[in-house]
Symmetry: C2
Subunit: 343 residues, 2 copies
Amino acid sequence: MSRTEISTLGEFGLIERLTKDIQPRNASTLRGVGDDCAVLHYPDREVLVTTDLLLEGIHFDLTYVPLKHLGYKAVMVNLSDICAMNGTPRQVTVSLGLSRKFSVEAVEELYQGMRLACEHCGVDIVGGDTVSSLTGLTISITAIGEVRKDDIVYRNGAHPTDLICVSGNLGAAYMGLQLLEREKSVLHSSDGVQPAFEGKEYILERQLKPEARLDIVRALADAGIRPTAMMDISDGLSSELLHICRQSGCGCRIYEEHIPIDYETAVMAEELNMNVSTCALNGGEDYELLFTVPLSDYDKVDALDDVRLIGHITAPELGTLLVTRDGAEMTLRAQGFTAFGDE
Amino acid sequence: MSRTEISTLGEFGLIERLTKDIQPRNASTLRGVGDDCAVLHYPDREVLVTTDLLLEGIHFDLTYVPLKHLGYKAVMVNLSDICAMNGTPRQVTVSLGLSRKFSVEAVEELYQGMRLACEHCGVDIVGGDTVSSLTGLTISITAIGEVRKDDIVYRNGAHPTDLICVSGNLGAAYMGLQLLEREKSVLHSSDGVQPAFEGKEYILERQLKPEARLDIVRALADAGIRPTAMMDISDGLSSELLHICRQSGCGCRIYEEHIPIDYETAVMAEELNMNVSTCALNGGEDYELLFTVPLSDYDKVDALDDVRLIGHITAPELGTLLVTRDGAEMTLRAQGFTAFGDE
């Protein structure tokens, strides 16, 4: 592949090359890239704004994360935050700090992943900043979305007896990370050995290419369910559930046996001699939705695809408890070990 | 001064400490820090969004920029972009990448400067991200503002015969930077010598503590003037004026003798044996507003405080010209040498 130095294009040339065929697809995008600001139009919706800063060596490791996947994930984790408010993402701004090791082609690859994530979710890239950096890659993304005022779901609305639900399954992204770390050390230690990724495609994909659960936001709306509290799981189930309990002034009781875990996640945990429930509780980066609904919505929630009931909200004096498979009660602790997004 | 390690607070503790007494002051801020997203309310205005990424060693040098000033400037340059669309800034998000050399007290100082800039302009801090970094300080700011649809001013609306105006004066921030660079090398070369900043307070302040010209946006509205095109001057007058001409499909003719230059700027240029007009044309970082108005607004613009007419827009085939003091015509060139904001 040819290598074009960024300096041959300059900042404006690079931005022009990256953004030249971007066409806004949302009615709310009046003006995107090319002026001092983007101009957005939100006459009868509330505007949601969220932002993330990702630094090479802290949040991602380019020795095993392809640039296209990195771009995809960097956008998706922000769109996930919009979903966590029960909103619909519409725009992102993308700022990049690029050291000299990155060619124009490398930046295009990163940008391709970002654009793919935007296309999947119907989102427009409306601006950003591209600067040179002394060391490595810096990515800063701001996502903007919309929600009807009555549909906003905060973290602080959970009530005792509410049902606690999660979408998809948990621990997969963390197991994917463990796999990548293991294969990285194999690659470093002996030449000629190929990474052993067969039969582990799902957990790899969950680590490298997470999806914002916009489909769940839509399914909730279609089913007439308005969650009382919601977050996306970036730091691990325990950590996020404790946020909801603290901000709602409640306790909780969840059941280990009900925590959804994929087969590949369980196999990988077994291989690494790790407790799979611990991984599901603390692994993070799954970007599934954690939400609470009134008890009266039991039938509606039970009928949803890819959503599991894992427990219920309690009075605060009952504590924040995990009931293990053998019936013991343990207090939940936040001990996320996330490498991406929030620390 | 005591030094508290960030690790003793953790990410959430640090954010809580930095944001604990922030009270939203804008009606458009429904929810600020503390959930997955900020929630904003813009029922009858267009929403403006702009973002900047600032990296230590590229955009700022902590050997001579105090953290409080850095925070102030980092926010102001974004608010200036909102003004450049003829808008009013309302919210910012602030993301920080912090290496271990920064104590909690240092981050508080940086944040103080940011909050001061926000207070000056009536802006709310509504979110952000705080992460650790391997090397130095990373600042990413997104500013959000509002504007009535009919009041938006893009870069591409200038027409032949329009008057070209600038607020304030130019070249001062660049001269301030030269002064700081000179005193930095003095400090490095000989002990005990104090920096010679006397009589140079104005250019220092222009470099360290620029102001978004929200006052000019208001004055234009009060005078019933709607500019046809507008930008803020971050990369230098030449560069910005060429953007307006290119995007509007026009030429221009500006007069060296009309470019506003402060006395301290002229003295400093003299001391450094630099051409002061070149500094004013290419210096950048002044964050003054450059705008064009219809010829029929001549009297209104002429009556404004702190605004100067420097020339007029022409047909594109007439070129983009500077008329020098001795009557010669030169083609404008973009050769900004900015160290902060856009490269």
